[in-house]
């Protein structure tokens, strides 16, 4: 029900533009032609009246001549009446009357049903002034045109003849003209409206409907939608603009999808690397535990080997012990090689891209934990010599740690700059690795509980964790340290108990980086 209602309203709205246009144009057309027709009809009516009057004048004059001729011959009034009777056959003639100079009716003929005229002021006026007079009067069956024509009466006096003619015929003619005008106007109007409807459907409604359909498709997610409107007008422009917008949307969407895929890939890589690193740490531990006893076995065998001559029958037992020791060593080597992160390939890289990517990966986690992750890195930092994948793991470990130890509502900040951000008061620190070249320092600062000096000394050892059981593996920092060292950089951890911890990673600058920050940084390092 509701859907149907909305559809009806929608239809009305969709047709609104056309309807309004039609009503407006039709009204304008009607106003213009109406004024024109009105003046034309008024003029036509005047002409018709004038023509009837002229007809009547000629008829009256002719009649007056005939009457005068007959009077001069001494015809009686009866004869005159007969004469008039013959003339009444004229269509539209209501009455014909002959008046003598005294204004008395001499002879008359009256159409059936009409009123017999009597001499009045009009007749007397004509008789005294000897001028033809005409007027219009209302009769019982429509308007009547009267015409009084004086003529010469014998003995130098003037008589008059009156002709009364109905205007019914003229008025019928006029009404017919009005009717035909209205009909023709209606036909023109209908044709006009029809042509506008067709025109608007063709040039506005149809392309707009195509636009609406395309916009709906785009809204549903079909971003490949385009409109073909090969026109140069506003509609064509709108379509072109729409196509451009859809194009931009498609590009932006593709970029978003690409970024999401890239992030997923990166996360998987980091997870894989962490897994491998964990196995690697375990392997290293095993290697260390096995190393000493294995060394004792092979060492003792070597000592014996020197004491037992080569040709001794039991010498082969020693050879087997030695070769099997080598075999164990080989197995552990292979395991370590497999799990050890490959050597980084260092190249000039912008640090912002590396840290930024890690921050974007951890943004969700930080929001879930209610910790604000604040990236305060200026634009235009110099390039560093780095392997982005390895260095990403460094910042991933550091920021993860920082997020884990910071309480809800706290802030984890990432900054750049030569000096530590933590105040020196009550601060202890530890540095691993040693950078000999000018470096760029990135700081990861948390608002955790901080570490005591004693804890700080062990944080870079494998399997040392301050997070408690089941939370951290204790592998993050040793791996981080190893990667930073492989970058020929250094990592410094500063902490104030109950205040927080700051980790500073210093990575050597790329030689060719000309940014002013680089020289500042280099100068700072020189002191």
């Amino acid at each position: 029900m509701r859907g149907q209602w909305t559809r009806t309203v929608g239809n009305r709205l969709r047709h609104n533009l056309t309807t309004r246009l039609i009503i407006l144009l039709a009204l304008a057309l009607m106003a213009i032609t109406g004024v024109n027709d009105y003046t034309r009809l008024v003029h036509e009516r005047e002409q018709l009246v004038a023509q009837t009057q002229e007809d009547e004048r000629i008829f009256a004059e002719t009649l007056a001549l005939a009457v005068r001729y007959n009077l001069r011959r001494g015809r009686t009034t009866d004869e005159l009446t007969d004469l008039l009777g013959e003339l009444v056959a004229r269509p539209g003639l209501v009455a014909t009357v002959i008046y003598d100079p005294d204004g008395k009716v001499v002879a008359q003929t009256v159409a059936p049903g009409a009123e017999a005229p009597a001499p009045d002021d009009l007749v007397r006026q004509s008789l005294t002034q000897r001028e033809p007079v005409s007027s219009v009067m209302d009769g019982p069956s429509g308007r009547i045109l009267r015409y009084v024509q004086p003529f010469r009466w014998p003995a130098g006096r003037a008589g008059a003849i009156e002709v009364q003619q109905t205007l019914r015929e003229m008025e019928r003619q006029f009404r017919r003209a009005v009717r035909s005008t209205i009909v023709s106007r209606l036909v023109v109007l209908a044709l006009f409206v029809l042509s506008i409807i067709i025109l608007t459907r063709w040039s506005i409604a149809r392309p707009i409907r195509a636009l609406v359909a395309a916009a709906r498709a785009v809204g549903r997610g079909d971003l490949g939608q385009r409109i073909a409107v090969p026109r140069q007008d506003e509609i064509g422009e709108l379509a072109a603009e729409f196509n451009r917008m859809a194009e931009n949307l498609q590009t932006a969407n593709a970029e978003l999808v690409r970024q999401a895929e890239e992030r997923l890939r990166l996360e998987q890589e980091v997870q894989q690397a962490q897994k491998l690193a964990a196995v690697g740490m375990l392997a290293a531990e095993v290697a260390h535990e096995i190393g000493t006893p294995l060394n004792v076995i092979s060492g003792r065998a070597e000592v014996l080997e020197r004491a037992v001559p080569r040709e001794h029958p039991e010498r082969r037992h020693l050879d087997v012990i030695l070769s099997q020791s080598e075999r164990i060593k080989g197995i552990i080597h292979a395991l370590l090689d497999y799990t050890r992160p490959r050597r980084p390939t260092l190249r000039p890289e912008p640090i912002l891209g590396i840290v930024g990517r890690v921050a974007s990966i951890l943004m969700d986690r930080s929001q879930r934990r209610g910790v604000r992750l604040q990236l305060d890195l200026p634009i235009g930092l110099p390039l560093v010599m780095a392997d982005p994948e390895h260095l990403q793991q460094v910042f991933l470990n550091l920021i993860l740690n920082a997020l884990d130890v910071t309480e809800k509502g706290g802030v984890v900040r990432i900054t750049a700059g030569p000096h530590p951000e933590l105040p020196t008061d009550g601060r202890t620190g530890i540095v691993r690795g040693k950078a000999t070249a000018p470096t760029l320092a990135i700081h990861v600062i948390d608002q955790g509980k901080g570490l005591a000096a004693e804890e700080l000394n062990h944080v870079f050892e494998p399997f040392f964790s301050t997070k408690g059981h089941g939370k951290g593996t204790g592998l993050g920092l040793p791996i981080t340290e190893e990667i930073v060292r492989a970058h020929r950089g250094e990592i410094e951890m500063l902490s104030i108990p109950a205040k927080g911890t700051e980790v500073i990673v210093r990575i050597p600058l790329a030689d060719e980086s000309p940014a002013p920050v680089a020289t500042e940084e280099a100068a700072e390092h020189g002191h």
């Binding site: 392997a283 190393g291 060394n295 060292r485």
Partner: protein, 128 residues
């Protein structure tokens, strides 16, 4: 005959110590063994050694922890560190802190002898 060159072996594993003692004595060195850092410090207080052969991983202070102090107290004693193989970061740190040589366990006795003679050789050269 020249004075015997002296070596202090620092390792927490008794079997490893016994092996090193046997091999090095057989090579003609004057060898003293201790089981950890504390004993090593005591031994170094009592006399000087030409070389300290020390395990990196030990209970208490590790070989890497002890190294800087040893370099300070007895700068003319060369230090050879031993650790599990694959421990590259410790190697880099050890070199930084002034270890003369580094051995990855398990090593061959030939490697041990070569490393020790090399360390002692550089020691001779470094003296004025």
């Amino acid at each position: 005959m020249a004075k015997q060159q002296s070596i202090l072996v620092v390792d927490d594993d008794p079997e490893m110590r016994a092996l090193l003692l046997d091999v090095l004595r057989n090579e003609g060195y004057d060898v003293v063994e201790v089981k950890d850092g504390t004993e090593a410090v005591l031994a170094l207080r009592a006399r000087r050694f030409d070389l300290i052969l020390m395990d990196k991983n030990m209970p208490g202070p590790s070989g890497l922890d002890l190294l800087p102090g040893f370099r300070r107290v007895c700068p003319d004693s060369q230090v050879v560190l031993m650790t599990a193989f694959g421990d590259v970061p410790s190697y880099m740190e050890a070199v930084e802190k002034g270890a003369a040589e580094y051995l990855f366990k398990p090593f061959r006795m030939e490697e041990l002898k070569a490393a020790i003679s090399k360390a002692l050789h550089s020691d001779v050269q470094s003296r004025p």
